[in-house]
C-alpha cells in the first residue's frame, strides 16, 4: 500500500479516538452547513429588522454597488451577498481542522515514541512528510467539500421556490471552496507540522494551533475577505499568495523533516 494512504488510514483511526481532535471534527462541519442555510432562509428578515443600522446600511451599499446584483431584487441580492461572504468560513474550516490534527499527529508520534521505529524503516523522508501532510489534509478537505456541497443543496432547495434560480454554486464560492480552501488547508498543515516539531504535549499543540495558526489565517481571510467577494482578480491574487506561502512552508518542512533533524532536534 502507498505510504501516504497508510498514514491516512492510521491517522483517521487515531483522530476518531482522540478526545482533543474529534470534537473539532464533529462541531465545525455541521456549523458550515447550518450557517449558510440560516442565512439563506433569514437574510431578508435580518436586513428588515433595522435598515438604519450602520452595519446593515454598509451591506446594502455594497450590494447596490455590485454590478452583478444590479438586476436582482433586494432579497435575492442580499441573500447572494451573504452566501458569497460565507465563503470565508469554508476557507477557515480546513485551516481549523487540518492544523489541529497535524499538530496532534506530530506530538502524538513524539509522546508515543514512534518516530524512531518509523524512521528505522525503509521509507524516505519525503514519503513520511507527504504521509503526514495528506493524513491531516485529506479528511479536512473532504469534510469541507462535503459541508459546502450539502449546504448548497439545502440552500437551493429552500430558496428555489422564492428566486427560481440556484444560488449556489456561484463562481466565487466555487473557487473559494474548491481551490483556495485546499490551499489554505495545505498551508496550515505545513505550518502546524513545522511549529509542532517544537511542542512536546497535546495541550501545547492545541494552544499553539489555536493561538497562532488559526488567528493568522483569520487575519489573512479578513484582509482578503471583503474584496474576495467582489473581484475575481483579488481571488486570483489570494490564490497566488497562498501558493507562495505553501511553497515557502514546504521548503521549510523539507529541511526540517529529515531523519537526522527529527531524531536530534525535535523535542
Amino acid at each position: 500500500m502507498n505510504v501516504s494512504l497508510l498514514f491516512l488510514r492510521k491517522e483517521l483511526r487515531e483522530v476518531l479516538k482522540n478526545k482533543f481532535v474529534l470534537p473539532v471534527y464533529l462541531v465545525l462541519p455541521p456549523i458550515a452547513v447550518i450557517l449558510p442555510v440560516l442565512f439563506a432562509a433569514f437574510s431578508p428578515q435580518i436586513v428588515a429588522i433595522d435598515q438604519n443600522d450602520p452595519a446593515i446600511l454598509a451591506i446594502l451599499r455594497i450590494v447596490k454597488n455590485t454590478p452583478e446584483f444590479a438586476h436582482m431584487g433586494t432579497d435575492e441580492a442580499i441573500t447572494r451577498f451573504f452566501m458569497r461572504s460565507l465563503v470565508s468560513f469554508y476557507l477557515l474550516l480546513p485551516v481549523g481542522l487540518s492544523s489541529i490534527s497535524a499538530a496532534f499527529s506530530v506530538v502524538a508520534e513524539k509522546q508515543q515514541r514512534t518516530l524512531e521505529p518509523i524512521l528505522a524503516t525503509p521509507i524516505t523522508d519525503l514519503e513520511f512528510l507527504i504521509g503526514k501532510l495528506l493524513a491531516s489534509l485529506v479528511p479536512s478537505i473532504i469534510l469541507t467539500w462535503a459541508a459546502a456541497i450539502l449546504a448548497a443543496v439545502i440552500v437551493n432547495w429552500i430558496t428555489w421556490g422564492k428566486y427560481e434560480t440556484a444560488l449556489l454554486p456561484e463562481r466565487f464560492w466555487f473557487v473559494g471552496v474548491f481551490l483556495l480552501a485546499p490551499l489554505m488547508g495545505m498551508a496550515s498543515v505545513l505550518a502546524a507540522i513545522r511549529l509542532s516539531a517544537k511542542m512536546s504535549d497535546p495541550q501545547s499543540a492545541n494552544q499553539f494551533t489555536g493561538l497562532v495558526i488559526v488567528p493568522a489565517f483569520m487575519i489573512l481571510i479578513g484582509i482578503f475577505g471583503k474584496i474576495l467577494t467582489i473581484s475575481m482578480t483579488a481571488v486570483a491574487i489570494a490564490c497566488v499568495v497562498v501558493v507562495l506561502l505553501v511553497l515557502f512552508l514546504l521548503r521549510l518542512n523539507l529541511k526540517n523533516f529529515q531523519r537526522e533533524e527529527i531524531l536530534t532536534r525535535w523535542k
Binding site: 487515531e14 515514541r113 514512534t114 528505522a120 524503516t121 525503509p122 531524531l263
Partner: protein, 309 residues
C-alpha cells in the same frame, strides 16, 4: 557483516562518538557496553543511517552508509530503548502498520505476524489496544517489529531495560534464538550480566571504543597481562623476591594465603614463573589462571567516573 572505520560524530561541537572502528562477523552477537551517554545509541543510529557521521565510514550487510540507506534499513531491524507504539491502536493494527512500512508482501505478512505473536504468547491479546499492555508485553511486541521482516542485522538498544526478571529472561532467550538463526545482532546495554550471558564479542565504549574483543579473550587478558593464582604449602619468603625479579611479573598480591601474580603473556610465562618458584624451593600446591569478570574489565576501561567529557 558490519564493518566500521573511524566513525565520528559530534552534536553542537560536543563529541558523541570518536573514531569507532570494529568488525562484526556474520552471525555473531556484539554487545556494546558503556555508561549512560557513552555513545551507544548514537552508534546504532549511525550504523542504521539515521544520522550521518562527521567522518569515517561503515558497511552494514553489504551496504555502505550514505549510499543506499533505505536499502540498508530494509535488511536491518531495530529494537528501540522505548518500545514506541500507537496506544490507541491494537497490537495487530500496530504490527500491520509497521510491516507495511517495511513493504512486507501481504501474502506472508499475516502469517509471519501470527507466528511471532503466538511465539510471544500475545496472540490472544492481538486485538487489545497497545495502551493497555504492560512494559514487558510492549517489549515483546517491539521484538516482533524488529524481526518480522526477516532482517540480517538486528540492533537492540537496552532490550531488557525496565523489565521484570521473568520478562528479561524471556527477552534474552529470544535474543539467543535469533542468534541461533544466524542473524547478526548488536545489543547496546549497560547491563554487564546480560552482556556476559549473550555476547560473542564485547565492545566497551565511552565516546571512544575502549576495547573490542571476544569475551574469552577479554577475560583471559590474552593480549595484556593476566593474573595467575598460586597456592604454596608455606608462605613466601625469599622466593617472593626471586619471583619479583622476573621481568614478566608486573605485580604480586597475597589474598587469603593465596598468591596472585600479574604476569605478561601468561601462556608463555606461567611455566617460567612456576619453574622460578620451584627452583627457589617454594612448594607449589596449585596454579590457577584467574579469569577477570566483565565487571572488572568494564570498570578498568571506563573508570568509575562515568562519561569522560
Amino acid at each position: 557483516m558490519i564493518s566500521a572505520s573511524m566513525l565520528s560524530r559530534s552534536f553542537d561541537g560536543v563529541p558523541a562518538v570518536e573514531t569507532l572502528s570494529f568488525e562484526i562477523p556474520e552471525g555473531s552477537l556484539f554487545t556494546l557496553l558503556g555508561p549512560n551517554g557513552a555513545g551507544k545509541t548514537t552508534t546504532v543510529r549511525l550504523l542504521l543511517g539515521l544520522i550521518a557521521p562527521d567522518s569515517g565510514t561503515a558497511t552494514v550487510a553489504g551496504y555502505q552508509l550514505g549510499q543506499s540507506n533505505n536499502d540498508l534499513r530494509s535488511v536491518c531491524g531495530l529494537l528501540t530503548e522505548t518500545p514506541g507504539f500507537y496506544d490507541r491502536m491494537s497490537a495487530w493494527e500496530n504490527l500491520i502498520f509497521f510491516s507495511q512500512l517495511y513493504r512486507i508482501d501481504q501474502t506472508v505478512r499475516d502469517q509471519r505476524i501470527e507466528h511471532h505473536l503466538r511465539a510471544m504468547n500475545l496472540w490472544e491479546r492481538r486485538q487489545s489496544l497497545v495502551g493497555t499492555f504492560s512494559k514487558g508485553m510492549k517489549q515483546k511486541l517491539a521484538i516482533i517489529r524488529a524481526v518480522f521482516h526477516d532482517p540480517k542485522v538486528i540492533f537492540m538498544d537496552e532490550p531488557t531495560a525496565g523489565l521484570d526478571p521473568e520478562a528479561s529472561v524471556m527477552v534474552r532467550e529470544m535474543i539467543s534464538k535469533l542468534k541461533g538463526e544466524g542473524r547478526t545482532i548488536v545489543v547496546c546495554t549497560h547491563n554487564l550480566d546480560e552482556a556476559q550471558r549473550l555476547a560473542d564479542i564485547v565492545g566497551i565504549i565511552n565516546r571512544r571504543l575502549l576495547v573490542c574483543d571476544t569475551l574469552t579473550n577479554l577475560r583471559s587478558g590474552a593480549r595484556h597481562t593476566s593474573a595467575i593464582e598460586i597456592e604454596l604449602r608455606a608462605p613466601l619468603g625469599d622466593h617472593q623476591l626471586t619471583a619479583m625479579k622476573l621481568p614478566f611479573v608486573k605485580g604480586i598480591d597475597n589474598k587469603d594465603g593465596k598468591y596472585v601474580f600479574e604476569v605478561e603473556n601468561p601462556s608463555i610465562n606461567t611455566p617460567n614463573l612456576v619453574k622460578a618458584l620451584v627452583d627457589s624451593d617454594a612448594q607449589v600446591y596449585a596454579v590457577r589462571p584467574q579469569t577477570r569478570d566483565l565487571e572488572t574489565i568494564y570498570l578498568q576501561c571506563v573508570g568509575e567516573g562515568g562519561v569522560d567529557r
